[in-house]
């Protein structure tokens, strides 16, 4: 007699539930060990000497005084790099240490190891580097115009790519045009760069514990620079306090390993906040010109654009950021014709590379500002013009690539519009004594405004983001599933950077295999690559790998049960925590069925192949797409130029929310980052020198700047995604930025002020002067 289960009841910890994160409690209580907490008995402390100049020739490096300091154990420069002298994610153009030329302020020139951090710092001061300063290349347009000597043997142009699609000369009754600028944003993760390297006995190999986004990519780059085979470099993931793209490139990995191997002792390196600003890549500043053509009803006819990304001194992922930007030029809208010209250039600014949104952020600020202009010109409301042009499954990008994923752009817009607007007036409910609550006004604690000084505006942003890597890159993921005695052990190299993959990995295993207990093995290079924790790809790729490995293990389990009971394995399925015979009465708990078995399956999950772009920018270069809409309500003080975001409403295309709480967490966090870019976050460089490399002057939104977020998840499982689930990490930070800026423009219009606000972050003076 079988029991009929209520299928509506979700078994705890399975897909669709929001179980507690394994790392959650310890992080909240402060007990979690981040990489910067790593230490070892007898370890030495490394430190890095960095260039003070944006562009200079190194005449000489005199280490002699450093060696004389008691407690200094090693001083190394480019001369001490045994393997490849340069590294890089796409092209290997960045030196481990600058030897002949420094190309940005903060470029590593030497490293030291000492008994304590203070001695290491004094050793850096004692190294005398003679520089011959050169005139830096700081203007991207100069780089394009070949108006400066080559600052790198690879040239000043990192990549130029065009897109020509349909009839690029097509026009319509309405034409709007604008030039937009995006400032340099920092990922500003809270867990600073840190690693500890343990040399093997005999010092022919090394084990590095570190915070990173992609263990195997680091492994390959480190091994090449050390001049050893990959298997001599083993990486173990330390606690990662956020990443957002800033841990995709090498920072202190090679230096730490070099010092440890040279000394045969463990070496620890950890960056300060100031050093972190110099030590990792940032979001590309960009200048984007766009001209949109539409018919009188507001239907897009043609999009023309020119993108210039300032890549800074080294290539990093600039060429891929460029392709993301230009291929998203039309936004989440159908458009038959287009012509785009894109440049990623080298300058003597801080190197730029991956940051959450990866090129799509810059494009979105431009095309969404344009869509508002178009709405105005056509006499349409912002959401009307967006619905009218909303992309659908089967529509093509300007690259000619059809969007074959679920594409609920219109649903995202309509569901966002259906969320309630804030019911509180400007300033919120008055306090007990009748006075307004200043903390709810722009200016906040500074008491700069009274209620009557404030106007409220509403703005929209909608975006498209490609998921996974593009242009033929096979960013596969690997997972191993072991099942024995009803316990699943998962092994993967997926970097858990705070996004919550370890939580959903357990959920997938519980769902597929009907177990309750899932053990997560150490995250290290002891299993195949998982690809990077970036590009909104791990739920899809590593989730797909874990799912596939668990399914493979399940087949083995069914075979074993089939042998025991003389039943064809194909008749079995998992029901709750039991194996059941779908054509008979057999029902046995998975724990019993797997008792004494040692099932182990390792699976690689690959996404479908993609293509390169041709000369005209045509090709199916992307893997998959996700969409989101944002509506911002912002209170603005037009006279002082201060703003307070009051509410963000959003509906996001998530496919299938494997862990709804984690999805909402990603959405709220991404919106905070998008809000930061809209109104405060920018690295300021003057003459190539960073001026605000600290959290006193690089401002991040605080709790008082972050509004309530209303969220609707658009759950239309994507047939191409292994679990129907799309990545959710990047979309929230892409169109929240233009939504906030549009709301500021709207508020100003109500105060009778027209401001283009074509640059983010919007500064007070941009609003009021």
């Amino acid at each position: 007699m079988s029991v009929v289960e209520d299928t509506q009841t979700l078994r705890a910890g399975t897909i669709g539930d929001s179980p507690a994160r394994p790392d959650g409690i310890s992080k909240v209580q402060g007990g979690y060990a981040f990489s910067s907490d790593l230490s070892a008995d007898g370890c030495l402390f490394g430190a890095t000497l960095r260039s003070p100049y944006p562009y200079a020739r190194i005449v000489s490096i005199d280490q002699s005084a450093a060696w004389k300091i008691s407690g200094v154990e090693a001083v190394i420069t480019a001369d001490d790099v045994p393997g490849q002298l340069t590294y890089g994610l796409i092209s290997q153009d960045q030196p481990v240490f600058a030897s002949d030329v420094v190309r940005y302020v903060g470029e590593p020139v030497a490293a030291v190891a000492a008994l304590d951090p203070e001695t290491a710092r004094r050793a850096l001061d004692a190294i005398v580097v003679e520089y011959d300063e050169r005139s830096p290349l700081l203007d991207p347009e100069t780089a394009i115009a070949e108006g400066h000597e080559l600052i790198h043997p690879d040239g000043n142009l990192i990549r130029h790519q065009r897109i020509v699609h349909g009839n690029p000369d097509a026009s319509g009754a309405v034409v709007v045009e604008g030039t937009y600028e995006i400032g340099m944003q920092d990922q500003a993760f809270l867990g600073l760069e840190a690693a500890i390297a343990y040399p093997d006995p005999g010092a022919d190999g090394v084990e590095l514990h570190l915070a990173t986004q992609w263990l195997h990519e680091d492994q390959g780059q480190i091994a090449a620079c050390l001049g050893v085979s990959d298997d001599k470099v083993r990486l173990v993931l330390g606690g990662v306090g956020g990443a957002f793209g800033a841990r995709e490139d090498i920072s202190l990995q090679v230096h730490t390993c070099l010092l440890a191997l040279r000394l045969g002792r463990p070496v620890r390196m950890a960056y300060s906040r100031a050093e972190s600003f110099l030590g990792h890549v940032h979001r590309h500043p960009a200048t984007i010109w766009m001209r949109h053509h539409a018919d009188a009803a507001g239907t897009l006819v043609n999009v023309e654009a020119r993108f210039v990304f300032d890549g800074g001194a080294y290539a990093s992922t600039s060429s891929a950021v460029l392709v993301n930007g230009i291929t998203m030029a039309q936004g989440p809208y159908a458009c038959p014709n287009g012509q785009v010209d894109g440049y990623a250039v080298r300058t003597n600014h801080l190197p730029c590379g991956a940051m959450r949104g990866f090129g799509a952020v810059q494009a979105c600020f431009a095309y969404e500002s344009q869509m508002d202009k178009l709405a105005d010109a056509c006499g349409l409301e912002p959401q009307e013009i967006r619905v009218r042009n909303a992309m659908r499954t089967g529509d093509t990008l300007l690259t000619g690539q059809p969007v074959m994923n679920v594409a609920p752009v219109e649903e995202c817009i309509r569901e966002t519009a259906a969320l309630p607007l804030p019911d509180e007036p400007v300033g919120g409910a008055p306090l007990g004594d009748g006075s307004p609550n200043v903390m709810k006004l722009p200016g906040g604690a500074g008491r700069t405004a009274d209620t009557r000084d404030i106007v409220r505006g509403i703005g929209w942003g909608v975006s498209i983001k490609n998921l996974m890597y593009s242009e033929t890159f096979d960013d596969y993921s690997t997972a191993r599933c072991r099942l024995t005695d009803g316990v699943v052990t998962l092994k993967f190299a997926t970097a858990e950077v705070g996004q919550g993959f370890i939580t959903i990995a357990g959920q997938i295993a519980r769902t597929v295999l009907g177990v309750d207990e899932v053990v997560l093995d150490q995250i290290d290079t002891g299993v195949g690559s998982a690809g990077s924790t970036s590009a909104s790809r791990q739920t899809w790729m590593s989730g797909g790998a874990v799912d596939a490995a668990c399914r493979a293990a399940r087949e083995r389990l069914f075979e074993a049960v089939g042998r025991s009971y003389g039943i064809e394995p194909v008749r079995f399925m998992i029901d709750g925590t039991d194996v059941i015979d779908t054509a008979g009465d057999l029902r046995i708990p998975v724990s019993e069925a797997s008792a004494g078995l040692e099932i182990e399956e390792t699976v690689e999950y690959h996404h479908p192949e993609t293509e390169d772009l041709d000369e005209l920018g045509q090709g199916n270069c992307h893997t998959a797409f996700a969409f989101v809409a944002h509506r911002a309500v912002v209170d603005v003080d037009p006279e002082l130029g201060l703003v307070k975001v009051i509410q963000i409403a959003t509906a996001q295309d998530v496919g299938n929310a494997l862990n709804p709480l984690s999805v909402v967490g990603q959405i709220e966090g991404g919106i905070a980052q998008g809000l930061g870019l809209a109104v405060m976050e920018e690295i300021i460089q003057i003459d190539g020198v960073i001026r605000n490399g600290n959290f006193t002057d690089y401002l991040l939104p605080t709790f008082l700047d972050m509004p309530p977020v209303l969220t609707t998840l658009i759950e239309q499982p994507d047939p191409h995604a292994p679990l129907g689930a799309k990545g959710v990490g990047e979309p929230p930070c892409i169109s929240s930025t233009p939504a906030v800026v549009a709301a500021i423009r709207d508020a100003l219009r109500q105060a009778g002020i027209e401001k283009p606000l074509n640059r983010v972050p919007v500064r007070p003076a941009d609003i009021c002067l």
Partner: protein
């Protein structure tokens, strides 16, 4: 590096006299930032003042109508009653400082000792005409706060001198502080202003922060607005307010740096001055 932890003011003064190059450490909210940024390396003696109980007290003299605040009183304490009622602008300014943790550590004496033009307490001390009691092994002296502040992070304190107390008048009349930053809390001022009205004397004063090498007073604007105020009704004509804004803006001497531009700062102090004056004088409007 040696750290001395005196418990009395006499002991602290003696230690300082013996080593005038010593670094004074109160809440550490400025000193630790400088150390962490590598701008300062305490090599010799550090005198930690937080155990000096004499510095951590305040008193209200109702007869003389003064409020005397020890240099080691924290921003959090300045936000509490009765100080919040006796010196409302000082409480306003204290609420804008950093985060709760910073306000629990940072002190008014430290704010003056650091003497940053962005110090949030300093426009208030200037507008109130605070007197500073300065002690050293040679004795003590009093100086007006405007005479103590001489430049960017420069005071007129001589070697071995330390700030003991700050004496403020307790006034009848509206007073308030407003500060512009690019974030709604936990931010350094890019322009700030304090307006203090003394209804008994029919005078007012306004002091500006972050728009000059040190706190900027605006005597011309003060005289102009005081003359225009209807002191019986506590109201002011709007054209006089406009003139006041112009005089305040032109008294400022801002610079352009990575935080803001001179033009914006000049504009912003004018707007702040107008809004503070509006809160002080527009009849029927509650203070917000």
């Amino acid at each position: 590096m040696t750290v001395a932890v005196p418990t009395t003011l006499d002991e602290a003064v003696r230690l300082f006299a013996a080593e005038p190059s010593a670094m004074l450490l109160a809440g550490g909210t400025d000193a630790m930032v400088e150390i962490n940024d590598g701008h300062r390396r305490p090599g010799g003696l550090v005198i930690a003042l937080n155990r000096v109980s004499d510095l951590r007290t305040w008193r209200h003299d109702a007869e003389r109508r003064t409020l005397t605040i020890g240099a080691g009183v924290t921003y959090s304490e300045l936000m509490q009653e009765p100080i919040a009622t006796l010196a409302p602008a000082l409480a306003d300014a204290s609420r804008t400082v950093g985060s709760p943790q910073i306000r629990n550590a940072g002190t008014l004496g430290g704010n003056l000792g650091t003497c940053s033009p962005a110090g949030d307490g300093l426009p208030v001390l200037s507008a109130l005409g605070a007197q500073v009691r300065i002690v050293s092994a040679a004795g003590e002296r009093a100086a007006s706060v405007d005479d103590v502040m001489v430049g960017v992070k420069r005071t007129s304190l001589k070697p071995g001198e330390m700030i003991a107390e700050i004496v403020l008048p307790v006034l009848d009349g509206w007073q308030g502080y407003a500060k512009v930053g690019v974030r709604n809390a936990m931010v350094i001022a890019i322009a700030s202003a304090c307006l203090v009205v003394d209804t008994d004397a029919r005078q007012l004063s306004i002091a500006l922060g972050s728009v000059g090498p040190t706190i900027v007073r605006c005597p011309e604007a003060e005289r102009q607005l005081a003359a225009a105020v209807d002191w019986a009704a506590l109201s002011v004509p709007s054209d006089a307010l406009d003139e006041f804004v112009g005089l305040v803006s032109s008294a400022s001497r801002p610079i352009t740096d990575h935080r803001s531009t001179a033009d914006y700062r000049r504009h912003a102090v004018g707007v702040l001055a107008k809004r503070l004056a509006r809160r002080a004088f527009t009849a029927g409007e509650r203070r917000s």
